[in-house]
């Protein structure tokens, strides 16, 4: 059932926020190699979209994907173990930050190729519905992805075949360092219009607004409507990727960053709860994450002899590379 409980919504944004902050600590501590793309500031979108979905619905995430995976219901401990490359991770340590997947909760994967996941999700939703399953999907992508041909092809297929997919554009103003104005001719909503898809813009910093808008779109889709696009305007509070913590790139004016950070989805949602409730959720989230960090760091690393395991689902074994 869709979840309009403001406490649950707050718990999700707070969980993602604190998960990301702890993950950044683990990057600094060298426990997460390769770094992460922090979702800080954008939590309201994953939380709001997933609150509008049912357990059986499907989603795909992006390179900035921790929030999507967590909001859809993956276990934070196994997610963190995945980021730390442990056998207990969601992907048994084979995927990492950018490929975290939990098919059991309907997450067909974070996907590190910008614009690639929309068509995959469209095919999955189409196939499941053809089998008679009553479900919809949501696929997240950034403002950078709206210039990728394969995503626009996916818009066309989904609209043409009326596959109920919510295309969720997280417009945080930048693709790495490239501002939207320097990259997007026309508008994001206009791309949807070109395929006859309804498009709605929402304030991505307000988890309630995202949830309400998406719930309405999802209701139309469940009633037989085709795909829709939601453009969630947001701001990335931190780096494009944690490498920016070491190498400063000059592309966002400090005043803009300050203004962006002033609209914090965790505070916006938190202000809707009595302080005592907020504090108890915060404590609960901390306990979950303490346990998650403990679990991840205590979990074994995979055995190098198993590096080729799962390469083929058919059981085929590959030749190894040694002389």
């Amino acid at each position: 059932m869709t979840d309009s409980d403001p406490v649950r919504l707050y718990r999700t944004v707070r969980l993602i926020r604190r998960f990301e902050e702890r993950a950044i600590d683990l990057v600094r501590a060298g426990e997460i190699v390769g770094g992460i793309h922090p979702y800080l500031g954008q939590e309201g979108i994953a939380a709001g979209v997933c609150a509008a979905l049912r357990d059986g619905d499907l989603v795909t995430g992006t390179h900035r994907g921790h929030g999507h995976v967590l909001a859809k219901g993956a276990d934070p401990a196994r997610m963190l173990a995945e980021l730390c490359g442990r056998v207990t991770g969601l992907n048994r340590g084979r995927g990492g930050s950018m490929h975290a997947a939990d098919l059991g909760v309907g997450v067909l994967g974070a996907n590190a190729i910008v614009g690639a996941a929309g068509a995959i999700l469209t095919g999955a939703v189409w196939a499941r519905r053809r089998r008679g399953d009553d479900l919809v999907g949501a696929t997240f992508f950034g403002d950078g992805a709206v210039n990728e041909g394969m995503l626009l092809e996916a818009f066309n297929l989904a609209a043409l075949w009326r596959v109920p997919v919510l295309f969720v554009c997280e417009n945080n103003g930048y693709a790495t360092t490239m501002p939207v104005a320097g990259a997007v001719a026309g508008t994001i909503a206009g791309r949807a219009a070109a395929f006859g898809m309804p498009a709605t813009a929402v304030d991505g910093q307000d988890p309630e607004e995202v949830r309400a808008t998406c719930a309405a779109a999802v209701a139309r889709m469940r009633a037989g409507g085709g795909p829709e696009l939601v453009e969630a305007r947001t701001y990335r509070f931190d780096a494009h990727h944690t490498f920016e913590h070491r190498v400063r790139l000059d592309y966002r004016p400090p005043e803009e960053v300050a203004a962006g950070r002033s609209r914090d989805p965790v505070d916006i949602q938190g202000a809707r709860l009595p302080l005592s409730v907020r504090e108890s959720v915060d404590a609960e989230v901390e306990a979950v994450l303490d346990a998650a960090v403990g679990y991840a760091l205590a979990s074994p690393a995979p055995d190098p002899a198993t590096a080729l395991e799962h390469l083929y689902a058919s059981g085929l074994t590959a030749r190894t590379g040694g002389g």
């Binding site: 995927g95 994967g109 068509a119 095919g123 394969m150 066309n156």
Partner: protein, 322 residues
Amino acid sequence: MPRLSYRRALTRALADEMTRDESVFLLGEDIRVAAANVTTGLLKKFGPERVLDTPLSEQAFTSFATGAALAGTRPVIEFQIPSLLFLVFEQIVNHAHKFPLMTGGQCAVPVTYLVPGSGSRTGWAGQHSDHPYSLFAHVGVTTVVPATPADAYGLLVSAIRCDDPVVVFAPAGALDVRADVDDLVPVPLGRGCVRRAGTDVTVVAVGHLVHDALAVADELADQVSVEVFDPRTLYPFDWDGLVESVSRTGRLVVVDDSNRSCGMAGEIIATVVERVRLAASPRRVTRPDGAVLPFAPALDRAVQPGREQLSAAIQLCLKDGS
């Protein structure tokens, strides 16, 4: 014995698998009217829900199939032109192929990519004449190149049943082959076969070149006893089968319709010399490095591996070390 054409063998394989397994469906461009004459009759038999004509959106429909496979179906995509595989290389290699490992074994992606008419189709020139199977063998996607109608049937059936992505290259040069076929049965992936027994040299021939190799072997029959080995599947390759053959003959020539650098022939020779002490230097007949097939028929032919080149390579190999 019923006579079967290569194309009809493909049609039969699709029809039989669609009948056997509800989760198999087809998608591609102009397949409802069977423009490539492979999906002939299937719309009528299975309906538009299982024979999908797609817009010209190769990247989207290739990944759409990946998603459908993740959701438990077995899509078969027909590609109109071999070079469309370049367009969707990313979708096949970076997504379909990588999902099982990247998810730690949470999923399978059983998609079949069927390319009827791969390689030169005389007169279609540069952008329609590629035969890019070596690329897929290189990245480790199961790759089959059937030479005969029986194998076209049997390998396509096995490809559809396989839990991994499989690319099926039906060479343009083999599409018109007809043969007497008694039994239509699945052919296991990864198993080669000896098409002609011989004792002096093993010729490995890929796809339609199997027929050329057999013709050359017959021409040379009074000088040399040629064994023709058809790998049928290029990845995973039947190394044991080939090593068994070359261990007997002691000589190896490969004829492969790939560009020379990093082509299949190079891998075949490298693996054999790692495992077998040969009596003579191995030889290969391939397309040139970086080949672009020119339009004029004489030029097109000049760039493809030919019978005279193969014959010369066999004779050189025999002279060497004897």
